[in-house]
Symmetry: C3
Subunit: 156 residues, 3 copies
Amino acid sequence: METLITGSTCYATIHVRTRLPTEFIDLTDRLQTLLATSGVRWGLVNVQTLHTTTAVVVNEHEPLLLADFQGLLEAAAPGNGPYRHDDTAARTVNVTDGERPNGHAHCRALLLPSSACLNVADGRLCLGRWQRVFLVELDGPRERQVSVLVFGEAGR
Amino acid sequence: METLITGSTCYATIHVRTRLPTEFIDLTDRLQTLLATSGVRWGLVNVQTLHTTTAVVVNEHEPLLLADFQGLLEAAAPGNGPYRHDDTAARTVNVTDGERPNGHAHCRALLLPSSACLNVADGRLCLGRWQRVFLVELDGPRERQVSVLVFGEAGR
Amino acid sequence: METLITGSTCYATIHVRTRLPTEFIDLTDRLQTLLATSGVRWGLVNVQTLHTTTAVVVNEHEPLLLADFQGLLEAAAPGNGPYRHDDTAARTVNVTDGERPNGHAHCRALLLPSSACLNVADGRLCLGRWQRVFLVELDGPRERQVSVLVFGEAGR
């Protein structure tokens, strides 16, 4: 994690190496640490993925529930397609060498948020009892980056 | 509603008691009041639920449309399951006494935003003619809390 | 595009005339220009639609993928209904002259974000290699407005 503090802002990039095609990576502890480092007491933490086949969601960290989520995403945008984005004979835009078929991953990403904007009150990240912040890998394994901005009033 | 103002920030927690399994609670008037109280003229209002079986959405307040939304959510994640999260024989994580089956509610929450970040321009909440901000109850009835941060420049 | 700068804030309304029932309008270049105008170096850009039958999403600008997205939305909320919102015999709320049936468009909007909150670091909009910001028209053609707030520290 690279961190940069300037005035009322703290900016960081979180690096994540995912291991599975679909995976939920809990970022909450890293965000809490970053907030503590920032010194911000009242403000916002904006957590933004830098990829188009991932998402950032807030939900409960319970392994069987995460399996339910995976089933839900599979039903919404099946992994076995077909997707026009994966038709290499027809594609003319953004074609890259060794690109793997990932139309399903883009479609799943469309249905999920690409960022989470969280409140900071009295130096604490506002999260309910069961809330955790996840990077959702939808086309892994890959190297991923999450951009985080902490913005607000420092304070005592 | 508890409200706290400090410098350029106004923080509040809105308490809502929901009455139905699925319910759309219109928060717009309360947000307008909070913005007026804050004195912020240019900035952001971030409206964030503190629960994992609710959502915050912006859409039209028309009762038959809200019934359509309920039908859409039922089709996306049926209330009669099955969900692995509800398999109390298999669950080992986050198990609580008297927990009711709510895998469907978590799945519906996954497909909806958990917060809404709204612009403030010249002291007014930027909302189009038909836009209203709702807390969406997906596993009611329950006591719910919504965290609201108004952040920006006060002004004349 | 009307733009207003005050202190650490830059506010603009982007006007878009859409031409198709479903359409993805790439706003990224306009947002980059606005950020450069603002002089903000560290902060946030919040991009918010002012309509209830549109969305703001971040994904890849590849024409066949956008066709996949259109198919996904059609599957999630079919254009041929039925929707109670379109039952003019039953509706009593928010009825307007010449209203066209658009329950499907509201339902599709419910499943997509109504805003995108993006980080600004060192004067640049934080977007990954493939990320572009789109206004999604779901009930076109229409005149649309997108509210944009750039908020943060100016700087050198």
